[in-house]
Symmetry: C2
């Protein structure tokens, strides 16, 4: 048993040895993805896709509860449509895939495979919004998008990925701004409540805005290795696209007005964020709310009479309240322990002849391997409690990682020293607001601005770079 266990564990690189390798080992060995002959695209396998379905369902519920409706827009964008908003096309044209032929015929106008769908939504809204009575329109779509990335990594950056993109239009700038902020909060709450992942909310600097946006807001998470990961964005567009696409409505006074617009998105990247926030050297650690299997039931000494039957009976009973699976294969118990640890199953339930005598079973938490001997009489209650506890514990652990890796610095030298001593993390430092200083910090220390957090701290009065009056505290860091 010990041998088997050891063998499984040795099969993945430890994160201290090579974090990038650890990550790719986990996504492969936990059966989340596979590679195909399509360069830069991934196959999302059943276990990975089940996680995505759980994310989708729970996020979609939150969107709908706030009045959003799902739609489906075309996969293709004609080149002329993409070009309607100047900043937008400049941002995206260099990284789109172009369809030039349909069947054997060259197309009259080439089509790009959507990298994002602002232009299509704008065209549609221009068609269907006429009066203030038509506003707001709160649309979202779940779909695939394509960006022709040079270097790719499963979930984190791939040429095709799955996402949701919300696109809303409103009568006033205030309403659109409120929506932008509301959706950022929805994302942050979702990360906390469902993914057990703490994030920093903030605004992107001018140089880091979405192509065509007035303001871009983001949630930033911190991975085990101290690198930041942008986990979701929410954009306020003002009336920029409205002017380019002539999206107008008649207000209550019969005056023509431009609409005000937002968009917001999260992607399969969230799965990558979960892996690198909670995983350990035994593999995945899944938040209970997105774990395809929340409890794996493993019969111990399964050859003894009644054990397998009891395991199956418990599985049936628990499946009324939880996502549960029983492994009755003839693999050793040790192999099974390691396998489901690799897959990040939150709770392992062991049941053997001795447990049966005592009307109990053993529950083992994935995150800390703590063992609990639990009476079968109150099994559901105890499991609910342990799943909640696990969720809170991995959140707290990730929050502690952020705190430990947050460096408050008041000079370039302090930044360099903190990074040299403790490795990557969130560097908090004051900034005057100029792009020159932003670039210079990056050049001198290697870390770029992640966001201007909503929760500001007054670390000093002066810019960490030029020494002039500081405008904001910025979080800096290396990012995925």
């Amino acid at each position: 048993m010990a041998d088997n266990n050891k063998k499984m564990v040795e099969a993945i690189t430890s994160m201290e040895e090579d974090f990038a390798k650890w990550y790719t080992d986990v996504v492969k060995k936990a059966d989340l993805i596979d590679y195909s002959s399509v360069k830069g695209c991934m196959i999302i396998r059943p276990y990975g896709y089940a996680i995505w379905e759980l994310i989708q369902r729970q996020m979609d519920e939150r969107f709908k509860a706030l009045g959003h409706e799902n739609v489906y827009m075309p996969l293709f964008i004609p080149e002329s449509l993409l070009q309607k908003e100047k900043d937008h096309v400049e941002g995206f044209a260099p990284e789109v895939a172009w369809v030039t032929h349909g069947g054997n015929e060259p197309l009259a106008e080439r089509l790009c495979v959507r990298p994002t769908s602002e232009t299509l939504f704008c065209e549609h809204y221009a068609n269907i919004v006429h009066s203030y009575r038509d506003l707001p329109k709160l649309y979202n779509q779940w779909c695939n998008v394509v960006r022709w990335e040079k270097t790719t990594r499963p979930f984190l950056r791939s040429r095709e990925f799955l996402w949701q993109e919300g696109h809303t239009v409103h009568a006033t700038a205030e309403e659109a701004q409120a929506e932008t902020e509301q959706m950022l909060n929805v994302y942050a709450d979702f990360c906390k409540d469902v993914l057990n992942m703490p994030v920093i909310k903030g605004r992107k600097t001018e140089s880091d805005k979405f192509a065509g946006a007035v303001a871009t807001y983001a949630i930033e998470a911190l991975m085990h290795d101290g690198k930041a990961l942008q986990a979701g964005t929410s954009h306020y567009f003002g009336d920029g696209f409205a002017r380019a696409f002539n999206m107008m409505y008649t207000d209550k006074n019969n005056q023509l007005q431009y609409v005000h617009q937002t968009s917001w998105g999260t992607t399969t990247r969230l799965i990558g964020a979960v892996i690198m926030s909670h995983g350990d050297n035994n593999g995945l650690v899944l938040p209970p709310k997105i774990a395809p299997t929340q409890i794996v039931v493993i019969p111990i000494a399964a050859h003894k009479p009644g054990v397998t039957e009891k395991a199956l009976e418990l599985t049936e009973r628990l499946s009324k309240s939880f996502r549960v699976k029983c492994d009755t294969t003839d693999n050793s118990a040790g192999w099974k322990f390691a396998e489901y640890e690799m897959k990040g199953v939150p709770l392992r339930l062991e049941i053997g002849p001795k447990d049966m005598e005592k009307n109990q079973c053993v529950l083992v938490r994935r995150d800390n391997r703590e063992k609990y001997f639990v009476s079968l009489d109150d099994l559901e209650g105890e499991i609910t409690r342990l799943l909640d506890e696990l969720g809170r514990a991995i959140y707290d652990k990730a929050a502690a990682n952020i705190e430990r890796r947050t460096y408050r610095c008041t000079s370039i030298d302090e930044i360099k020293a903190a990074l040299a001593e403790h490795g990557d993390g969130f560097v908090k430092a004051m900034w005057c607001g100029s792009e020159e200083c932003e670039d210079k910090v990056k050049e001198l220390t290697g870390v770029g601005s992640r966001c201007i957090p909503f929760e500001q701290e007054q670390l000093s009065d002066t810019c960490v770079c030029c020494g002039k009056k500081a405008a904001h505290m910025v979080v800096w860091g290396n990012a995925y």
Copy 2:
């Protein structure tokens, strides 16, 4: 009120006048779709997409209950991969969209946008299936596909559409054949139970098989205008793809064997089938199980005290058990009646001062406009009963349409006469099995073979065309 009603109804072409125009009127005026500047692609609007979500959810449950798992494969297929199976590439290459550039760079190998994903699944299965222990693999994916159609119609035939594609591999031919048939039955049952739509199950003739299949099975529905619509297909591949892609496994005797394979699919076309099976000259008629709104609550004399409050109270109460919506806008009741008839909402609930006095409300069925005065005490029970009844009634009506439009013929002249007298429909006639006769029937009568139904009838002993010994009864017809 009457005027408003009339106005709405006049807004769509009657199906007797122009069925094609009636169809496009309905999809537009019921807010199911919109057109975009992307030729041949449609925008699925919230009301249309909500129908698709309900179809998806209920069909997905049935797949999962049978052990199928969802995955996600890349959008793109390298040209060399598409070419691996000869018949398959010949069938699809003429109608795919080709990506030739990524960003500003031409691609070394062009990629087609998946028209279907057999090749990708084969490549993946070749990677992950090694032993008989790995079989069967029962995968499905929900995604978009692209086929470069010349003429397009919303839901029925578009360059991009949404669908599910199941792809399974099995140890034996028998298991794969059983899966092929099982999934055809799942589709037929789904059409009956969820879409209230009767279908004929059968096998496609050789000339009508899927590119690369050994046998293709289909469910065929009949639309109001007498044209057939293929609503789902299930293919048995034998080991053809297995040989092309080297998909092999080691059996229990340690011998290398090829896997046996199936695929099966249904698309957003089902929405078109529902429209043309159940709709009428007032618009959509939606099966209760896929109606985004099952009951619309309309306050009558809403200016009278307490009416709107009562309507909202009932809405809140009913939303615990049904998908319900209350229209409290200041549009006239007549306008509302026509609007929700157009949208096919199964039940209209009217509540006014007189109803309130009697502790009752009025329920009106969409399909036959029958009125029911129902006590508020047993509202839920009565609604459940009426929704069930409506579902059965529209099924029976569609079945009667099939029966009325089924012509049993024993000669080419009889086929011609039946079609001339009664219009399009299902022509049942015997066939010798030769492609020559199949083509000739089409040439002489205009109708092609739809399928060889599982439920055979012995109409005569000889082929309707050549007079030689008949092999099967075939259903012939014009099709969407």
